[in-house]
Amino acid sequence: MNAATAFNNGFWKKLSGRLINSRPDQTPESGSRNYSPFWVLVQKEFGDHLRSWRFTILIGIITLACIGSIYAAVTAIQAGVKSQQTDTSFLFLQMFTASDGSLPTFVTFVSFLGPLIGIALGFDAVNTERSKGTLSRLLSQPLYRDDFILAKFTASLLLISVVLFSLGLLVMGLGLFVIGYPPTPEEVLRVLCFLVVAVVYVGFWLSLSIIFSIRFRQTATSALSGIALWIFFSVFYSMIIGLIDKATAPADSAGIGEQISHFNWMLLLNRISPSYLFSEATSTLLMPGVRSLGPLTTEQVVGAIASPLPLTQSILLSWPQLICMIAETAICFAISYVLFMRQEIRSRA
C-alpha cells in the first residue's frame, strides 16, 4: 500500500511539474503553448485512439450492452414498484444493480467488458510502435523512456475515464427520464464513486496488457495473453476457488473458529482476483444495505439496526479493495517499467 501511495505521489508531482515547467530555456510566447514531451505524446495517443476503428467498435459493443442493461433494470424496477416488492430507498441506484433476469446488470457488464476495453487499448501499445519502426525514431527524441509508457498509459486511462463517465452519466440521465424518480445527492455521489472504482479497475487491465505489449513482440500473442488472463479471472478463477473450498472445507461439526478461519482463507484467495475486488467494492458503493464484506457472527449482528450505511461508511468499507486494485496496477506498471527501461531499441526488431 505504501508503494501505491508513493507511486501516486511521484506520479502527480511529475505530471504537474512537467506540465508547468516544460523547457525553462524557452520563453513561452503569447498564444503558443509549449507542452512537455509527455503531454505531446498523450495528445497524440489520445487522438490515435479516437480515430481508430477498434475504439469505435468497442464503444458500439459497450453502448449496446448498457442500453440492454438499462432496459432490464427499468422493467425490473417498474415491475417491483407495482407489486410493492422493491425497497424504494435508493431506488435510483437500482438502475445500476437491478435486472429482470433477461440481461445482466450494468455493474456486471462493466465488470465483464471493462477488462476488454483495457486490453483492447493496451495490448499493442509498445509492440506496434516497434514493428512499425516508429519506436526507435521516437526514442531518439529527447524524451524519457518512462514518459513514453506513462504517456501510453495516461492517454488510454483518460479515454477510459471519459467513456465510463459518459456511459454512467448517460445511464443516470436515461434513468431519470424513464423512471422519473430524481436521485438524491448521496446517490449521485455513490454513482460517481462507483465510476472512479470502475476506471481504476479498467486501468489495472490496461497496465497488465501494456506489460504484455512490452514483453511480446507479436501483437497477436500479447492480445491473446491478455484475453486468456481475463477469461481465467472472470470464469475459471471462481471455479478453482470453489474446488479448493470444497476440498478443504472443515466438517460441519467443526468449531466456529475453524469455520471462520477457513472462510477468511477463501475470501483472501478470492480477493487476489481484481474482478472479485471490483464486485465487492461496487456492491458496497451501490447497495448501501451491504454492511460488511466478511463473515459476521450472530454476536456481532446483535443490536445492529438493519439500515443502510451512510456514504462515508460505504467508502470506508470499500477503501481496501480500491487500494488493492491501485496497488495491483502499480505493480504491473513497475514490471513494465523494469522490462522496458533497459531494453534495446532496434528498428523493426
Partner: protein, 336 residues
C-alpha cells in the same frame, strides 16, 4: 581532410557490446571530428547498427566508453538526443498521419512551439522535395519519399550531429544520388557532422571524408580512401598493366629484368606472335612504381605503347579482399 584539428565530437574507446556469448562490437576505438562526414562501411551484421545504438543510449555498452558532444549517452540520454538526429534503417512513420503531422510531432517532442514547428516543417519538406505531398498520408509514400521524410525528421530538431543508418537502402539510383547530394550539402553548408553506415561502397566513397571498415565487430581500418588503401595494402606493391606491339623476346627479357620487380606476367605468346602487329598485354608488379620505367623500356625496344595503367587499390578491391567474393553481401542485398 586529416586537418580537422578541432575537438572530437564523438569519441569511443575500447567499446564492447556482447550479446551473451556473441560479441557484436569488440574493443572499438573511434574518434569523429566536428564537421566531418564519416562512413561506417561493412557487411550486414558487422556491428554498425549496434555501434550507432550505443552512441544514442538506445542500448548499453558491455564495457568501454562513448562520449557524444562530451556527454555519456547512457547517463545523459536526453542531452545527447537533443543534439543528435538519428534516422534508423527502414525508418517508420505513423502511417495514417500526414507527412506534416509526423514532422510536427517530432518538432513538438523537441520542445519547439507549434507555430515555429509548422514553419520549419514546411521549409524542410520543401527542401527534401516533398512540398507537394503535405496532405498525403505517409502510408501511401514510396520508399524514397519515406527516406527523404526521414531526413527532414532528423533535421527539424536542428541537430549538431546526424546519424543515418543505411540511408540509401532500397532507393533507386537517382534517389540515391539526390540523397547523397543533400547529405553533402548539409555537411558543407551547415557544418553538420554526419555519420552514415552503409554496405554500399561506392556511395560511401562519394561523399565521405573518412571511412571506417567494420568486419565482425572490429574496426579494421579507418581513414580517407588513400590512407585506407595504404593501411590495407600490406605488401605495398604497385601493379602496372601495359599493352604494346610488336612484342619481342628482348622486350620480355628487359621487362622481367627491371629493378625492384616482384612478379612479371608476359603475354602468352607462340613464336609467330612475336612478329605480329597485334598489341599484347603484360602485368608487372613491383615494390615501387615501375610505370615510367616500363614505358621507357617498351619504347627503347622499338615497340609502340598502346596503353599503360598503374593499378591503384580502390575501396572496391579492399572491400572484396575483406568480404571474400562478396557472395554474402549479394545475398543480403537480395533480401532487402
Amino acid at each position: 581532410m586529416e586537418s580537422f584539428a578541432q575537438a572530437p565530437i564523438i569519441e569511443m574507446s575500447r567499446l564492447t557490446k556482447k550479446y551473451g556469448e556473441q560479441t557484436a562490437v569488440s574493443q572499438l576505438d573511434l574518434t569523429i571530428h566536428r564537421g566531418e562526414v564519416y562512413g561506417l562501411l561493412g557487411p550486414n551484421g558487422a556491428g554498425k547498427t549496434t555501434t550507432i545504438l550505443m552512441m544514442l543510449g538506445l542500448t548499453e555498452p558491455s564495457s568501454g566508453k562513448v562520449r557524444v558532444c562530451g556527454l555519456d549517452p547512457a547517463r545523459q540520454p536526453l542531452e545527447v538526443k537533443r543534439r543528435v538526429g538519428y534516422m534508423p534503417d527502414d525508418v517508420g512513420f505513423y502511417e495514417d498521419r500526414t507527412a506534416l503531422d509526423n514532422l510536427l510531432l517530432t518538432a513538438r517532442l523537441n520542445g519547439i512551439p507549434i507555430q515555429d514547428a509548422r514553419i520549419q516543417a514546411l521549409e524542410l519538406l520543401e527542401r527534401v522535395g516533398l512540398q507537394h505531398t503535405l496532405t498525403k498520408r505517409v502510408g501511401a509514400f514510396s520508399r524514397g519519399m519515406r527516406q527523404r521524410l526521414g531526413i527532414a525528421d532528423v533535421l527539424i530538431k536542428k541537430p549538431e550531429i546526424i546519424i543515418l543508418d543505411e540511408p540509401t537502402l532500397g532507393i533507386d539510383p537517382e534517389g540515391v544520388r539526390e540523397l547523397l547530394e543533400l547529405i553533402e550539402q548539409l555537411s558543407r553548408n551547415e557544418g553538420l557532422t554526419v555519420l552514415l553506415s552503409s554496405h554500399h561502397l561506392h556511395q560511401v566513397q562519394q561523399i565521405c571524408d573518412r571511412v571506417g571498415l567494420f568486419v565482425q565487430g572490429k574496426l579494421i581500418a579507418s581513414g580517407n580512401i588513400e590512407s585506407l588503401a595504404k593501411q590495407l595494402d600490406d605488401d605495398g606493391s604497385v601493379t602496372v598493366e601495359l599493352s604494346a606491339a610488336p612484342w619481342s623476346k628482348e622486350l620480355d627479357e628487359r621487362l622481367s629484368g627491371l629493378d625492384g620487380l616482384l612478379t612479371y606476367k608476359g603475354p602468352d605468346v607462340s613464336d609467330h606472335a612475336y612478329s605480329s602487329v597485334l598489341s599484347l598485354d603484360a602485368v608487372i608488379t613491383g615494390t615501387r612504381d615501375l610505370t615510367s620505367e616500363a614505358a621507357r623500356t617498351v619504347l627503347d625496344c622499338g615497340a609502340s605503347l598502346f596503353g599503360i595503367r598503374r593499378k591503384q587499390y580502390g575501396l572496391d578491391d579492399i572491400y572484396h579482399r575483406y568480404f571474400e567474393g562478396g557472395g554474402q553481401l549479394e545475398r543480403s542485398n537480395g533480401i532487402q
